[in-house]
């Protein structure tokens, strides 16, 4: 919130004045009020492997993270460039593979990647769009210096928190929205619906019927699935509701089977079609891939996009962006050591206590080592795992992440954050001005994942 001279940074000026005039006890009471609101609404998530497997609340911090319009414009340009490059990359690797032929990305990294789906080779998804919904994870290390941590081109979650956080803030502090011109985020469900409808498959005649596919109520993000279906006004379906009938994917209604044209699926590729992928999947729809390839359904995001979330592919993003857009990437990539390369592995093993080591297919903050905060024993154990399967890991330096203020009992205190803006791709790229700010609530911690005790904040993009 403050700059080096201890004055509030420009976007925080109005908020700072307001905050100074507040009674701290009242703010802390408001915090509790927010928590009750979330619990009552059932905005919860499940933590896998937790003893009490029931639902948890994600802690919510009531101090907004504020981004100026100028800062946002630069970010948005960078994100748009990156998302365009991702779609071009996917189209290329499933068709002409020019980037491989040009020698920019090694062939085996693509073709031997578990997230690369041979079934997608030569197939163009409706509208040519692979990543309908993207949630780019970004961190800031200095004024105007943004790094992309992950692209999340598969199934980014958390957008319901972006919306509910804003809703909660507007309910609790309406006056703040008079003092600041905050760009709205609440159109997201409507925009998502329009965006999905505009990419209906060739076999759809008339108004496209959209549905959200969820693995069910025990999935950690179930709340979000039902929330999005509800806000868009579309059916929330499970695999058991769907069946392929007469070459179309249809859902079982109280009146019989009715066709679906666009499926926003929140089920991983592996589970999508037991006839094509994992035969033991009970979450998918047998035969949906045939319907897809016959042009009778749109699947969002397209199967096979997960390869973009591979952290080894990530390390090539500067080359990928430049290759397809002809310009240098606007947003920085975190320098990444690919442990599959001998020299890199050697370096990583020697500098383990300075680095963050992640699994190439990992997500959610599981299975990673944060060198600077890990014990000697943990580092040693991790080194063994690394040596056993080097190509399963990448390593990155720990960045000096920016901090934002959170409310604690004694007042405000700085904590590290990241930012996940949400991007919708149809015939255009739309970036919702705002996003999900995740915050590491433990002092000094760099891990913001909700599964590891992170919290969230409302994120304001100002109109200026």
């Amino acid at each position: 919130m403050m700059n080096a001279d201890s004055n509030p940074r420009q976007p925080y000026e109005n908020y700072h004045d307001w905050y100074e005039a507040q009674d701290r006890a009242r703010l802390i009471a408001k915090s509790r009020e927010a928590e009750n609101l979330f619990r009552k609404t059932g905005i919860t998530f499940a933590v896998y492997g937790h003893a009490d497997s029931s639902e948890k609340l994600i802690p919510f911090d009531i101090i907004p993270r504020i981004i100026s319009g100028r800062e946002w414009r630069k970010l948005a340009q960078g994100i748009e460039q990156r998302v365009i490059a991702l779609n071009a990359f996917l189209d290329d690797i499933y068709h002409k593979q020019e980037i491989i032929k040009a020698g920019r990305v090694p062939r085996e990294l693509i073709e031997r990647n578990v997230a690369f789906l041979p079934q997608m080779i030569g197939f163009k998804p409706p509208g040519g769009v692979y990543t309908h919904i993207v949630g780019t994870d970004i961190v800031r290390t200095g004024e105007d210096q943004f790094y992309v941590l992950e692209d999340n081109a598969r199934t980014p979650s958390g957008v319901s928190y972006m919306l509910e956080n804003r809703e909660t803030m507007m309910q609790m502090f309406p006056e703040l929205f008079h003092l600041n011109k905050v760009r709205p985020v609440e159109d997201y469900p409507k925009t998502l619906r329009q965006s999905l409808a505009s990419l209906a498959p060739p076999g759809c005649s008339g108004k496209p019927r959209i549905a959200v596919l969820t693995p069910g109520i025990f999935n950690s993000a179930y709340y979000e699935h039902s929330f999005l279906a509800d806000m868009m006004g579309v059916e929330l379906v499970e695999g058991s509701d769907l069946r392929v009938v007469d070459g179309k994917v249809k859902m079982r209604t109280t009146r019989g089977y009715e066709a679906i044209d666009v499926l926003y699926r929140r089920v991983d590729d592996d589970f999508l079609d037991p006839l094509t992928f994992r035969p033991d999947s009970a979450l998918g729809i047998p035969g949906i891939m045939d319907v897809y390839k016959a042009g009778n359904i749109t699947i969002a995001n397209a199967p096979g996009t997960g390869i973009c979330d591979d952290k080894a592919i990530y390390s090539y993003m500067p080359e990928i962006v430049e290759f397809y857009t002809g310009r240098k990437a606007i947003l920085e990539n975190v320098p990444t050591w690919r442990c599959s390369e001998e020299n890199s592995l050697k370096y990583v093993l020697e500098h383990l206590e300075e680095l963050v080591v992640k699994e190439v297919h990992g997500s959610g903050g599981y299975g990673m080592l944060v060198g600077p905060t890990a014990s000697k024993k943990e580092c040693a154990a991790f080194a063994e795992k690394l040596k056993a399967r080097p190509s399963n890991y990448i390593a990155q330096p720990t960045l000096s992440l920016s901090t934002v203020p959170i409310l604690v009992n004694k007042g405000i205190a700085p904590r590290h954050v990241d930012l996940r803006p949400y991007v919708l791709v149809s015939d255009k790229v739309q970036i919702i001005p705002g996003g999900l700010t995740r915050v590491a609530l433990k002092e000094g911690s760099l891990v913001v994942n909700s599964s590891q005790g992170g919290g969230t904040k409302d994120t304001w993009v100002l109109e200026d």
């Binding site: 009552k40 609404t41 059932g42 279906a229 509800d230 929330l236 509701d241 079982r252 109280t254």
Partner: protein, 313 residues
């Protein structure tokens, strides 16, 4: 609407209804223990039977004590019909059909679950029983209020109501089935204090001991009590009332979808039967047989609804 959604709504409301009914049975059992001198743990035998869990109880407990019976009915997770299991199942179904519910109905259901999870987190002391029973009644009443006050009167509403009335008819029929011998005029020593107590207990377990007095001028008689619970169409927990509602809810769906199923015929036939017979007639032909047959038909209706509206296939 998805068949699975119709199924979820149906079961959500069956479970809420069941939770309430179990609470009412416990209430009647407690009352009986209070009013009867020398009350015994065996009073709970009948309560467990009315709840349909007498045999299952024995698989968990060696001996029948009132404390164990109450705990089993209230909060035992191994008992799928305990109040806590029912509320848990109702909420899981509500989560599944979240998009079909208004925010108010969902929040009332969610808060009911939050509150009861806390209230039933450990064994309830006898002194705290009235408060806990009160909480269950209040929480479920809030769900009902939110539901009636905010839901569109469409197929969602009608499937929910169908779940409520199938369960209610089943519960009332079960109470009659377990207690039928108390209502047999031949055996009953009319007017004895034991009978009065038993009869009052039956009425209490359907929350009807006050309304009964208004309708039948305060006289307890086995015929009148049977009439009230089976044929009286003003009594909201009677079989006739439940079927009157079922026929109208099913009729709505037939009109909306332009389609009749086996369920429509079964429900109408049962309602006709309830309307055409007198209580004397039923008692003469055998109360027990009548109730047993009713339960079989009611179960079949449930299956026909599930088939007709594609709950599972």
């Amino acid at each position: 609407m998805l068949g699975r959604t119709a199924n979820g709504l149906y079961w959500m409301f069956r479970y809420i209804e069941r939770a309430e009914n179990i609470a009412r049975l416990i209430d009647a059992g407690l009352r009986m223990a209070l009013t009867r001198s020398g009350s015994s743990d065996e009073d709970w035998d009948g309560v467990l039977q009315s709840a349909g869990v007498r045999e299952d109880f024995d698989t968990v407990h060696h001996k029948l004590t009132s404390a164990d019976a109450i705990d089993y009915l209230l909060r035992d997770h191994s008992n799928p019909s305990s109040v806590m299991s029912c509320i848990e199942a109702a909420r899981n179904n509500a989560r599944m059909v979240r998009t079909a519910l208004t925010r108010e109905t969902w929040e009332a259901t969610n808060e009911c679950w939050i509150e009861l999870k806390l209230a039933l987190s450990k064994r309830v002391k006898p002194a705290d029983m009235p408060e806990v029973i009160g909480t269950i009644k209040r929480c479920t009443a809030l769900i009902r209020g939110a539901f009636h006050g905010t839901m569109l009167r469409d197929d969602i509403y009608n499937f929910s109501r169908i779940g409520t009335f199938i369960e209610r008819a089943d519960n009332t029929a079960r109470i009659l089935d377990v207690k039928y011998y108390v209502l047999l005029p031949a055996i009953a020593k009319v007017g004895s204090s034991l009978d009065n107590m038993q009869w009052e207990s039956i009425l209490r377990s359907v929350s009807a001991h006050r309304s009964y007095s208004w309708v039948y001028d305060g006289d307890y008689s086995s015929t009148n009590i049977s009439d009230f619970l089976i044929l009286n169409d003003r009594m909201p927990r009677s079989l006739a009332y439940s079927y009157d509602k079922l026929v109208s809810n099913l009729g709505y769906l037939a009109k909306l979808y332009g389609d009749n199923h086996a369920a429509h015929e079964t429900a109408s036939a049962t309602l006709m039967l309830l309307r055409s017979r007198s209580i004397e007639d039923i008692m003469e032909q055998g109360l027990h047989e009548f109730i047993e047959e009713f339960i079989v038909h009611n179960n079949r209706l449930g299956e026909e609804i599930s088939d007709g509206y594609r709950f599972y296939r």
